[in-house]
């Protein structure tokens, strides 16, 4: 399976202490993506200029001459780069590093097992990303391996995957952290590249099969901070029998920092950050319509 990172001691990705596995690859292209390095399913090289000491090891290692170190310092020109990652292996400082690691489910499980003493009754593994269900067989196998060993399982998903996997997912995951991005489908298509309707249907089906869920709703000022969107959330909520609560995630522009490491333009949008008042309003709207709302990390 392809992962970007396995983060231990996460406390906001489901109940208790969790080990979060970030899958690489996602079918959506949300303009506000917080973890842009997880979008592409292939290898990418991240470069942090602040950590570069200009040693030239990368230039020596690169078969296509993408790195140049001269009097003007180190320049990384990605045009010819094939993401073979030889430079990252050679870089002594960690200024160059690969976004993706290929791991077997067994290898990931071994990392997850490390924090068993901290999981208690509640904690466990959370698959996130990226879209874990874009690698459905690997994701499901890993979930089942964890479950068999008494480790709690959660999956954060946008819902965009082959609906044939819904029953298996509902079975293998103790909790689904389900992203709900926008009730306006035209806007959903425009901002993420796909329609939100099948995604919603997948959630409703998982719920019908008894899957426990949390609705994770990103709020972007001037994009979806409007009553119609809150209504859509409430409507979805009313169709779910096993949804524990809805979580409001105010947009923040930090994903831009990672775009910079990927050699792309920092596209963080300050103007999308919802104000506390807008958040409050969203909360009130939803509460008034009977939705149980919880702030992330509160």
């Amino acid at each position: 399976m392809r992962v970007t990172e396995i983060q231990r001691f996460c406390m906001h990705d489901g109940p208790g202490v969790r080990t979060t596995v970030f899958f690489k690859g996602c079918p959506l292209r949300c303009r506000w993506c917080h973890n842009p390095e997880t979008q592409s399913a292939s290898q990418q090289i991240l470069y942090d200029a602040a950590r570069c000491i200009g040693c030239g090891a990368c230039a020596a290692a690169c078969p296509v001459g993408a790195h140049r170190v001269g009097a003007d310092g180190h320049v990384y020109d990605r045009t010819e780069c094939t993401a073979c990652a030889l430079c990252a292996a050679a870089c002594p400082t960690g200024a160059l590093f690969q976004a993706m690691r290929e791991m077997t489910e067994e290898e990931v499980l071994a990392v997850v097992e490390r924090d068993r003493a901290f999981y208690g009754e509640e904690g466990g593994v959370t698959l996130s990303g990226g879209e874990p269900m874009a690698q459905p067989e690997a994701a499901l196998r890993l979930l089942r391996m964890c479950k068999d060993r008494g480790i709690g399982t959660a999956v954060e998903t946008c819902g965009c995957f082959d609906p044939a996997y819904v029953p298996a997912l509902a079975e293998a995951a103790d909790l689904l952290l389900w992203d709900f991005k926008d009730g306006d489908d035209a806007r959903h298509r425009e901002n993420t590249g796909v329609s939100g309707l099948p995604l919603m249907r997948a959630l409703i089906e998982a719920d019908a099969r008894g899957a426990q869920s949390v609705l994770r709703c990103i709020l972007l000022r001037g994009v979806n901070t409007e009553e119609a969107h809150y209504l859509a959330i409430a409507e979805l909520w009313s169709k779910l029998r096993h949804c524990r609560y809805a979580e409001l995630l105010p947009y923040h522009p930090y994903g831009g920092a990672k775009r910079r490491l990927l050699g792309e333009a920092d596209d963080g949008r300050e103007d999308w950050i919802p104000t506390p008042e807008e958040l409050e309003r969203a909360r009130d709207h939803l509460a008034a319509r009977g939705v149980r709302v919880r702030d992330l990390g509160r």
Binding site: Q7, R8, F9, C10, M11, H12, P15, G16, V17, H34, N35, D48, A50, R51, I53, C55, A57, P92, T93, G94, R114, D115, A117, F118, Y119, G120, E122, G123, R216, I218, L249, P250, Y251, H252, Y254, G255, G256, A257, K258, R260, L261, D295, L296, G297, R298
Partner: protein, 712 residues
């Protein structure tokens, strides 16, 4: 009046306005500054001083202190008695002759305050008289006489307070209580609290820095009885207890005094089991946590004993208080500590009663003469084993290098133990005729150390039940990392030869930055949950424990091992050379049993796992782990659950002592200035995660601002 939380969380308010105001003044140096107005008492006019023995001089000093130290009554105080001489804050008996101090004082011990509660001073006096009668005409007579004299001085000081309180209607309650205690045994919670406080204050007034010990064990039964009888409410009890903590801040002076003025080893322990294995948690446990949570007083470093059986409600409460930050609450894993002590030869009942020494080193409180002897293991490796990386130093393989280090380590431990034997004993021949050498006077603390009075021997001269000298290994992480780095780069991966490596280190990495970076980033060191690296640390500790065991039982000393640096990593940094794991000469390296700053790539759980890989039962007097957390880590219900999980895992994996701290934007600012030390600091905002140091300045500023905001 807001009592700051280092992470900006809002503290609950349960105490009265008056009590909070008292705390406010005390924490903001009012009484500390007052204490410094009179630094000491003078014995310039003492007759026959020059002819006196050191012990007689000591007694004269204590008598003079008792007779003339300023009396301080603070407005509204519910407990009276104050250690009002400034020199005591500096760990000295605050008495001088011709401007020079007369003798030194004692710390790193926890007294048996229970004896005062149960027998009163009256009972102690009777014991001292009895001892004097028994030892008159023997070489123990002077000490027995000194005990009688110091108890008399204590009574003099006590009477002065009674006189001062007389005719002050606002202090009528204090007067009534002090008329009874500490002279007589305590009958209720307030008497018990006042008795402990007054005794503590007198011992401190004489310059000593004792720990308090198991506060809930001492006071809980009195409070539970009062509550059951309906003569006191929880709220009233909390107020009283708060005054104990506030009074304990009377040495806070403000400003910088070396390692700070925030604590004088006045440690408190909560929770755990008693000698019979029963859970001791009681109303005092809960109220103490309330007070710490509300006032954030760090002057009584408080540690909670946890075990696999700890009540989940207590665990949660500990986490709640802990997340206010400041490292105010720390925890012991009592399962492991008790096992460590019994394995080391302590009776189970004594082991279960364990406390600490005023710092976190474990001892049987009120019965142990304790000293620890810190040394820098990294210094041994660099200066002895590797002879400052001299050109002619070479080893054919890692094992022969390690064997050399082990021999040097063992030699150092032996030397430490022998020097303490030589300082305290007349012989150092095993099986020979051992006898105590005279030591500096210390009668005041001896009064409250089990068996000193009865034996007619002082705390430093064999009076206490246990005599412990604990070598403390410092620089654990960096010694292990250095060895591991050499093992990997030179012997396993053959990246360079040992001699080449030493040349680089001799030159402090000059011109070799890429190699240094490689050593920093290519290997995962102690603290990363890497079995291979952790095994080196575990091996060092095992060999260290063997070395200590080898010296044990030769005389009346026990030589248990421990791990600490406290703040010494700072002073040690000056003499340290470049280290193989990518460190420059003079860098400030790891503290206690914690990993070196910047090597903890796997977060808090990874650190705990690395630390727990060593057999910490062999570190009999302790091995401390510091853990840094961010406010965002512990925010809300999720965060509480996470903190609880950390504590539970620490116990389950066999940790010894852990001090989690929750810090705020200041940590991020520090991380911005010194990114190398904060490599793993992840920031987490609504599902996004990144390592803080990988952000550029602009972005970092933004996140800092965000944390600063969220902190409000």
């Amino acid at each position: 009046m807001t009592f700051d939380a280092p992470n900006g969380l809002e503290r609950p308010v349960r105490l009265s306005e008056a009590t909070r105001a008292f705390a406010w003044d005390s924490l903001r140096h009012k009484y500390g500054q007052d204490t410094r107005k009179v630094m000491d008492v003078s014995l310039d006019d003492a007759e026959g001083f020059d002819e006196m023995t050191p012990l007689e001089r000591y007694d004269a000093a204590v008598a003079r202190i008792a007779e003339t130290a300023p009396i301080r009554l603070c407005e509204g105080e519910k407990l009276s008695g104050a250690a009002t001489l400034g020199r005591a804050i500096g760990h000295q008996v605050p008495a001088v002759r011709n401007g020079a101090a007369i003798c030194s004082s004692v710390s790193h011990l926890t007294l048996d305050f229970g004896v005062v509660l149960k027998k009163g001073l009256r009972g102690l006096r009777a014991e001292a008289q009895e001892a004097l009668a028994r030892y008159t005409g023997t070489e123990r007579e002077p000490f027995a006489r000194s005990c009688v004299s110091c108890l008399e001085s204590f009574s003099v000081w006590h009477r002065r307070y009674l006189e001062a309180l007389e005719g002050r209607p606002e202090f009528a309650d204090n007067l009534a209580v002090l008329r009874r205690v500490p002279e007589e045994p305590a009958r209720n919670f307030r008497e018990a609290l006042q008795s402990v406080w007054f005794t503590f204050a007198f011992v401190r007034l004489c310059g000593n820095w004792p720990g308090i010990g198991r506060l809930d064990v001492l006071l809980g039964p009195y409070l539970e009885a009062d509550l059951a009888a309906g003569v006191l409410t929880m709220d009233e009890a909390r107020e009283l207890l708060a005054h104990f903590f506030i009074k304990g801040c009377e040495w806070i002076c403000g400003g910088n005094y070396g390692s700070g003025d925030a604590q004088h080893y006045q440690n408190i322990l909560l929770g755990g089991i008693d000698e019979d294995g029963r859970d001791v948690v009681n109303a005092v446990t809960w109220l103490t946590l309330d007070v710490l949570e509300e006032l954030g007083i760090s002057d009584f470093p408080t540690t909670v004993r946890l075990s696999r059986k700890t009540d989940p409600a207590l665990l949660r409460r500990v986490a709640e208080v802990m997340r206010f930050g400041g490292g105010i609450l720390a925890v012991y894993n009592e399962d492991l500590v008790i096992e460590a002590l019994t394995k080391y030869g302590y009776e189970l009942r004594e082991a279960r009663a364990f406390g600490n020494d005023g710092c976190w080193e474990v001892q049987v409180p009120g019965a142990t003469c304790f000293q620890y002897i810190p040394f820098d293991a990294l210094g041994i490796l660099q200066h002895q084993t590797l002879r400052d990386y001299a050109e002619d130093v070479d080893f054919p393989d890692f094992e022969s290098l390690y064997a050399r280090f082990k021999a040097d380590l063992t030699a150092r431990v032996t030397e430490i133990c022998r020097s303490y034997e030589a300082a305290f004993w007349y012989a150092d021949v095993p099986g020979g005729d051992w006898g105590w050498k005279p030591q500096m006077p210390c009668t005041v603390v001896s009064l409250f150390e089990r068996d000193c009075i009865a034996r007619g021997l002082s705390y430093f001269e064999g009076g206490a039940v246990y005599n412990v000298r604990s070598p403390h290994l410092g620089g654990l992480a960096d010694t292990a990392d250095s060895l591991y780095a050499i093992k990997k780069a030179v012997f396993d991966d053959r990246k360079l030869t040992l001699r080449e490596f030493f040349t680089v280190l001799r030159n402090n990495w000059e011109g070799e930055e890429p190699l240094r970076q490689y050593m920093l980033h290519h290997y995962e060191y102690y603290g990363c949950d890497n079995e291979e690296a952790d095994a080196v640390a575990a091996r060092i500790l095992d060999d260290f424990a063997d070395a200590c065991d080898g010296m044990n039982g030769r005389c009346g000393f026990r030589f248990p091992a421990g791990v600490s640096t406290f703040g010494r990593q700072l002073e040690w940094s000056k003499g340290r050379l470049a280290a193989p794991h990518g460190r420059h000469a003079g860098e400030v390296l790891a503290a206690n049993a914690s990993p070196t700053p910047g090597t903890d790539l796997r977060g808090a759980t990874g650190i705990i796992r690395s630390y727990c890989r060593a057999d910490l039962r062999r570190m009999v007097t302790g091995a401390a782990l510091d853990i840094r957390l961010l406010p965002s880590d512990v925010r809300g219900e999720d965060g509480l659950a996470a903190l609880v999980a950390l504590l539970r895992g620490f116990v389950a994996l066999g940790g010894y002592f852990m001090q989690p701290d929750v810090a705020d934007a200041a940590v991020l600012l520090a991380a911005q200035k010194d990114p190398a030390s904060y490599q793993t600091l992840s920031v987490r905002v609504s599902g996004w995660n990144a390592r803080f140091v990988t952000l550029n300045k602009e972005w970092q500023d933004m996140v800092i601002a965000q944390y600063a905001k969220e902190g409000r």
